[in-house]
Symmetry: C2
Subunit: 337 residues, 2 copies
């Protein structure tokens, strides 16, 4: 009755063992690359596994080892270029590190929704969690996660006890603003992202600080929601004011909308008005005119966050760390004087 088992459902370790004429433990050893298995035996076992198309039962393994080999990813709106590139980079890095990736998206901006996503991941016994949800609500939810579960927040601002990875938004915004001031603009206007995003506030800070340093007047911030539409609408208000000659936008999508609004208002870019974006989306170089912007390396962000997480998992301690990546100004044709 050797084959009896195979008929009813998937083969298990014991089936492989029988076929190879060894004990199930030897099969386990082969599977886990234990050194002390005679190579001839190993071959026999491998052949048997192949013949039966055996795959180990990950649930049983997880149960006994108490490790799921799975990481959790909390995302918010994967439609945004930044988050989606980051997620992609994380998945690749996770695979290389031997982890599976499970995702849970927050349905809305509120803390409960993020907490809910985190809970779903914990139900699955993930070994660690990375949040790609750079809003304040995520931070609040993160702060409530018990300290024994490894955690990394991306772009989520400062918080006690939560390891973080982010771009140096203050420096990035300062670079953009400085660039415009250096071109001879009396001041720089700013169309920001939603205020409940830490990145937005950091960019506002970088912009404002720079203006103060050079003694330029500060205009009130107009805030959008990262969309082209919101950038368009904000810029339309700015376009009619002849004093506006330089606009720093919180991201490239809004800059794209601003470009359109300025065009409609008959104000040429860059001869009359200069525009700078943030992110450097792949399309930025092909806009009319090509967009000067602050480039951030989303993939590096993803890889770093994974590294930080794995470090915590192996060490068993939450690293108290905040990694900041320097962005880079890419000057194209949307700025001048």
């Amino acid at each position: 009755m050797t084959g009896e088992r195979r008929v009813r459902g998937k083969p298990v370790m014991m089936d492989v063992a029988r076929l190879a004429g060894v004990s199930h433990q030897t099969v386990s050893r082969v599977l886990n690359e234990h050194p002390s298995v005679r190579s001839e035996t190993r071959e026999r076992v491998l052949r048997a596994m192949e013949e039966l198309d055996y795959r180990r039962n990950s649930a049983a393994r997880a149960l006994v080892t108490n490790r799921s080999h799975t990481l959790g990813l909390v995302t918010f709106d994967t439609t945004l270029v930044g988050p989606s590139s980051t997620v992609y980079a994380i998945e690749r890095a996770a695979r290389d590190a031997g982890y599976f990736v499970s995702v849970a998206s927050a349905r809305s901006l509120d803390e409960g929704s993020v907490a809910n996503a985190i809970n779903r991941l914990r139900e699955q016994a993930v070994e660690g969690i990375i949040t790609v949800a750079p809003m304040d609500s995520a931070l609040a939810a993160l702060a409530r996660v018990p300290a024994d579960i490894p955690l990394v927040g991306i772009g989520v601002g400062e918080a006690m006890g939560v390891p973080m990875v982010s771009v140096d938004n203050i420096a990035g915004a300062a670079m953009a603003t400085k660039h415009l001031v250096d071109l001879g603009h009396a001041t720089v206007h700013h169309i920001s992202g939603p205020p409940e995003w830490p990145e937005t506030r950091e960019r506002v800070t970088g912009w404002r600080t720079t203006l103060r340093q050079v003694g330029a007047p500060e205009a009130p911030v107009l805030s959008g929601d990262w969309s082209s539409r919101s950038g368009y609408e904000a810029a339309r208000m700015l376009a009619s004011d002849p004093n506006v000659t330089a606009i720093f936008c919180g991201n490239d999508q809004m800059a794209l909308g601003a470009l359109r609004a300025l065009h409609e208002a008959g104000r040429d870019v860059p001869t009359e008005v200069s525009v700078v974006g943030f992110d450097d989306i792949p399309e930025a170089a092909y806009l009319l005119p090509p967009l000067t912007t602050v480039q951030q390396d989303f993939a590096a962000l993803g890889r770093a966050s994974l590294e930080l997480l794995v470090e915590q998992i192996t060490a068993g301690v939450r690293t108290q760390q905040h990694m900041r990546f320097p962005p880079e100004l890419v000057v194209r044709e949307s700025t001048g004087r």
Copy 2:
């Protein structure tokens, strides 16, 4: 020794049972919402669970029920707008249907890479797989998956035995081409995506068929890689030819690049040349000029694929089905005569 267990590691069902003064089986019943538990008992158990911050061990559960409650998602390049919106929609729908989502990305375009991603998901014992990787290689890999594992391919062309969800690309391309012809253009040029994508070929077919129907001459297809850069380069070659007055691009990013190339060549859009894209990315309405394009509902695609997958899981049979979604032409200002 009631509390002894709790000190060393996470609480298990037995700990909750002891605290609530019931058997572990009753705890299980409460957890699984079994009807025959006295509500007073249920309350007591729930309180105990809360007090201990108990979470059931999903591995143990999966082991005994032989269900992982997890679906697998194969992605290729989540940086593209289409796939990333689809992934997002799938995750949401999966959660509503009570499933977790595990992702695996294909590292490159070849079949081995996709097969590898599928294998990783199978190792995790996912109950079904959706591929958001609309290349031929994915189709080839899908065709090799044993018939007993539920499967849905998105936008991956025709294949024997693999349930499919896609946009009706032929109809979409035909709509775009017809629109241009109706505006009075003698013919329509096409900048396509990479030929190894079924969607590319379908769009080429829709375009070509329409041209033949109206008796317009057919120009050779220029093919890009979906990027703005490739659209720009292809359009640059077209721009110098005065006979080119209408260009249908395989996606919006390439159309964006084409817009720039035409501008550089001094050919006005839409008075001299008309441009149509595909996808309707959120930025399309804010380009210079706003882009006429073929809109597809990525979210609907995602939801439909999930529905199809869940159907297969519950039925235990692979549904032989191909759902096609009609796209919609959105006329903006990049087309005219």
